[in-house]
Symmetry: C2
Subunit: 699 residues, 2 copies
């Protein structure tokens, strides 16, 4: 049976990749449109390519250094020899996911704009197909790597279950490190360009958004691709892989002493992922729309696909657990279901707080009447308040998953249940990511339509698609942060298992919050997301300021630019954003890797567990707060632009633009990076566990 299971997982992975290839061919079969469109798309593509090349070069150095450090530790017997290699491959595939996503997105932008000239449905098809390439590449590559490593470690190196999961967790650390670089770097790039372009273009020079005279306009579009596409691809690759392998690791711990069950428990999340791919592919066939640009109809078109996929996996998970884990453990099915449902509900809550169809954002927009200060206060309050519902949802999901899985009788099984909830939440990532990743493609298409002077109805259609993208992005963020919290909890449990393996007296019960080492760890951990958010926000501010200065300069020095007689130097702005974002992405990532080691050395493993718990709790809150505040400001501005509270150009609109600008780094740089941070902290702790166990201050 073992071999069959591995083959099934492998087949699932190949299926996803094959589907991604088919979708990619479909995208490429469309026409890119006019010469001008081709030219613009080409500059965006080359800018994104150039940026990623430089980013990967820097990341390569980091990975080389880490490889040497991990190699040294393996040599000293603190790690198994597979660890350094697993680390590197995790990083490689995470980067590859982002790269493929960027490639297809930059190929699809002009094609989407061109398709929108024919009709809305055609436009949606191109953009959604491009999103699908990204979605299925992420899950396909993720599952492929997991299955290859799994097969290698099991059948070639004959490791036991705990040896396998231990190596695979390092694989996750590689993926998370890469993801953090991609998210932070890409996030800084995209927001620096966006803020810079807006501040000088819209506010100072008074030219519209995406106007070709703005020197930062190409950088802005490049930013969408390297931030919202490549960054998100690497990010969700990490989430996906992280949830599967942390669940596998807890499965091994839950059935310790029973090799056969250990194997099955380890395989369950992987097979569920494979099944999820199948369900997602089926779902994609049900995404289509008519020609009306109404948001409700468009949203329905996408929801049909994602909902169907969710229902299918909810049904399929039951026999999976019943037959593989056996009747006595069928209650674990409830854990999967709890996770799936929690993901959907967090998405709904995000939608409620950030969509202008509901009260909160409408009320926020009305605060523009008394100026920018009140809309800022209002948005901050909205974001903070919006943390309450997701906290309760996650709380209920954790309680359910833990206790139905046997928590009262067995903590190990209960924790495995929590990890399974995370896998349940992400099982249909293929399609949810497709609906999420299509947004930036539509956004770029709008930019190209504007710059190449297409008919107004084309821009109307791309705008409709783009607006919808904001809603699906909100839902996607719900899944990302919800699964991050659950996965982080699972990783903390894995960390304790690792310590338990070295000292049997240490158990899950050993980490009382009243132990001052745990407590101080908790305080420090809770502080980390704040510091991290501060650093990334400041980085955006600094980078944006350099863009502002450059754009002002070009407006002044290039004669005939404002009259449309001369071209601005787009490449210089792209280069500027690249350089500053690459410089700024290093410190936050290094902090995420160094702090857990320092905390471990000073406060021991008690301090580390406290730190991880604190970072997970405060990171979850801060990520939701920042994402929702940012989303609400963005949509409040759009709501005003749609003609409410004075409409475009009014004082109210100006106040809302300030809100939106503050929200930019909130929702697209700091907020999403925190998701990765909380998992990376755990993975680093796990990898360095043996070192910390042997060397730390004895209090």
């Amino acid at each position: 049976m073992e071999l069959y299971l591995v083959i099934a997982i492998f087949v699932g992975a190949l299926l996803a990749i094959a589907f991604a290839v088919i979708m990619a061919k479909r995208v490429l079969s469309f026409d890119e449109g006019t010469e001008k469109m081709k030219k613009i798309s080409a500059s965006i593509r080359s800018g994104a390519n150039a940026y990623l090349k430089r980013q990967y070069t820097i990341v390569l150095i980091f990975f080389a250094v880490m490889f040497v450090i991990l190699g040294g530790m393996a040599f000293a017997g603190l790690l198994t020899p597979y660890v350094p290699f697993a680390f590197v491959t995790g990083g490689f595939f995470s980067g590859l996911s982002g790269f493929v996503g960027m490639k297809i997105a930059t190929a699809a932008n002009a094609r989407t704009a061109n398709a929108c000239r024919t009709g809305l449905n055609k436009g949606l098809r191109v953009a959604f197909s491009a999103g699908s390439v990204m979605g299925f590449t992420v899950v396909g590559l993720g599952l492929l790597d997991i299955s290859i490593w799994f097969a290698l470690l099991k059948f070639v190196f004959n490791l036991d279950a705990s040896g396998i999961t231990s190596a695979m967790l390092t694989f996750g650390m590689g993926a998370s490190s890469m993801a953090l670089f991609a998210r932070v770097g890409g996030g800084i790039f995209t927001k620096a360009a966006d803020v810079g372009a807006d501040l000088v273009g819209k506010v100072e020079a008074g030219i519209p958004e995406d106007d070709p005279r703005n020197p930062a306009v190409i950088a802005d579009n490049v930013g969408d691709n390297v931030g919202d596409v490549a960054g998100m691809g690497a990010d969700l690759y990490e989430s996906y892989v992280g949830s599967v392998i942390s669940c596998a690791a807890l499965g091994v711990a839950a059935f310790s002493g029973n090799g056969d069950m250990q194997f099955k428990a380890m395989a369950i999340p992987m097979i569920m992922a494979a099944l999820g791919i199948l369900c997602s592919i089926i779902g994609t066939f049900f995404v289509r729309t008519g020609e009306k640009t109404e948001q409700k109809l468009l949203l329905k078109a996408l929801s049909r696909g994602t909902n169907l996929a969710a229902v299918l996996i909810a049904v399929a998970a039951f026999p999976l657990i019943w037959f593989i884990l056996g009747q006595e453990h069928w209650t674990l099915y409830w854990a999967v279901l709890a996770g799936l449902l929690a993901g959907v509900l967090i998405g709904k809550s995000t939608e409620y707080f950030t969509s202008d169809s509901y009260g909160p954002t409408k009320k926020l927009a009305s605060k523009s009447e008394t100026g920018s200060a009140t809309i800022i206060i209002g948005g901050l309050g909205l974001g903070m308040l919006s943390t309450a519902i997701p906290i309760v949802i996650v709380g209920i999901a954790v309680l359910t998953a833990f206790f139905v899985s046997g928590g009262a009788a067995s903590t190990n099984l209960g924790l495995y249940g929590i990890a399974l909830a995370a896998v349940g939440m992400l099982s249909t990532l293929g399609i949810t990511l497709a609906t999420d990743a299509y947004g930036p493609v539509a956004d770029n298409a709008g930019g190209i339509a504007e710059m190449s002077g297409l008919e107004p109805e084309v821009r109307e259609r791309t705008d409709a698609l783009d607006s919808l993208g904001n809603t699906t992005a909100a839902t996607g963020k719900g899944f990302a942060i919800g699964s991050a919290a659950l996965t982080a909890l699972a990783l903390i449990a894995s960390y304790i298992d690792k310590i338990h393996g070295m000292d049997e007296t240490v158990t899950y019960e050993s980490f009382s919050v009243m132990n001052p080492l745990v407590l101080i760890g908790l305080f420090i951990g809770a502080c980390l997301p704040f510091v991290f958010a501060a650093l990334t926000m400041d980085a955006v501010g600094r980078a944006a300021q350099s863009v502002v200065i450059e754009v002002r300069n070009q407006f002044k020095k290039i004669k005939g630019l404002m009259e449309g007689k001369a071209d601005p130097d787009y490449a210089k702005c792209v280069d500027m954003c690249s350089r500053s974002s690459l410089k700024e992405m290093i410190l936050p990532t290094v902090i995420a890797i160094v702090v857990p080691v320092i905390v471990g050395l000073v406060l021991g493993f008690y301090g580390v567990v406290g730190m991880l718990a604190g970072a997970t709790a405060s990171g979850f809150l801060l990520a939701i707060f920042m994402s929702n505040s940012g989303g609400a400001w963005d949509n409040a501005k759009k709501y005003i632009e749609a003609g409410n509270h004075g409409g475009k150009g009014s004082e109210q609109h100006k106040a809302a633009v300030v809100g939106d600008t503050v929200g930019d780094p909130f929702k697209d740089t700091s907020g999403p990076s925190i998701n990765i941070l909380i998992k990376l902290l755990s993975m680093v702790s796990i990898v360095f566990a043996a070192l910390i166990f042997n060397v730390h201050i004895q209090w």
Copy 2:
């Protein structure tokens, strides 16, 4: 010996009150100045009186309801019969502290302005004397109530040590509830009036600050008295009393089984408080200045007093512990010292991040060059980043206090050490609060000088005093939040002691962060300060909006107002602020009391401990973040007004005003309320512990 100790505490309390009376007489001996000044001061006084009267009426209803509930619980045997009475007296004295502070502050404002006509030193003496009345009233009343209850319970009702501390913790809950009402209500009042007055007066009508034509100008000055004075008085009364009684409770737990030592351990924090009063009084005699308005010289004048008091108590604490607790426990002295030092260092860190003499605020001011969005992003980043140093300071203080006090050998002694650190930090509250409370008096004096058209050099002097007040307020906030974190930790320990008393198998070690009930409690607790901050910020926004509308109305309807021929209806604005702030203060306070009970019923005492730990960590972070962001924006604006980056009236200044307005509710409403929240949550949990122990869902 017992009786002598109690007498010593009692004498300390009377000494403080006597000193406050002397200082009050001194203040009243000064002249109120011209008729106009008297009239303005009288309107401020009557507005503040009217507000507090209404506030106390509402609070009275709350206390009556709670008295009935607690009485019912006492009747059912879930509480001792002293509890309801202790609760009510705690609330009464907390309110009284605020009331006395407000009385003297409103009596001193015109006198300070008038004294400034003679010279700077005379002005400082009046304002500082008024601050001293408040400071010594708070500590005097605090210690008086503690000693009376202590004497009653011990000598009249003959309770044992744990019975005494248990009743006294309820006394703390009463004080905290009152403090939260006062802080939240007063905070909303003062910021609604401030923001409202600024938005219409300064921005729309273009008249200067404190201009008598602005209908909200009296409300603004009333706000300083009911928020920054009465609110702060109730707040610090609660902090002071809370730290002493939680320390006493842990002393009893630390020496359980040894009645004599229990008594001594309980008495130590009270005697230290009494000694602290003596040291503070000595310190006040060293506060005097020359006639130069330089900040450095003025700050030196105040620091001389506070530093001397701190050194004196640091010296005096040693023999106290050595002789009363005995040689074998002298290491507890280090805990006191750690607390004292931590308070000073957190204050320094606050000063570094918020004073325009240092880099962070200067850099923040420079962000005004690219508009309000960048200065907002910058300020948020600054506040978030500024959490790191205080976290490390508190971490080191906790580690030191715990381990030097015997933590490795005895957790009980270690926790007692942490509580002693909090007492050490607050022991010289008499003088630190005096330096803090004098700020709003100087602020009011400036307003009166402006409104009654005094000579420009008078305003210059009051401004110098006011500016200094910002720095001392920052230091004061450091003590308030630092002691809140330590006291909250001590209260969590007391809570566990209480549960331990009902079920011996529950110990400090029982609350592992991997227990899902603890974990979910942690998440919910971490979320509470966010929700609380959101509610209070929104409340300020709503209340300010109503003031804006009223002021606009008066400008329109009252003929000759702008020409100075007619008087505005000041009372209407005061009434408006009163009504909205009183309405808005109820929900946040009720949440703070209801949520711990609900969490207890659903998640049991495991959930409660998790909640308290989570709220303490995230509340500490959020309070520092909000206070420092707000302080930095305020001073960045002042820095620009001093002539940098374009100076007053420039675009940069306008951007900085937006930052300052966002910062107002941050630093004066939400931030300081969170300090109280985290302690109130613990106290409510302790009072309802027996109920929760008997009735909660069994997972």
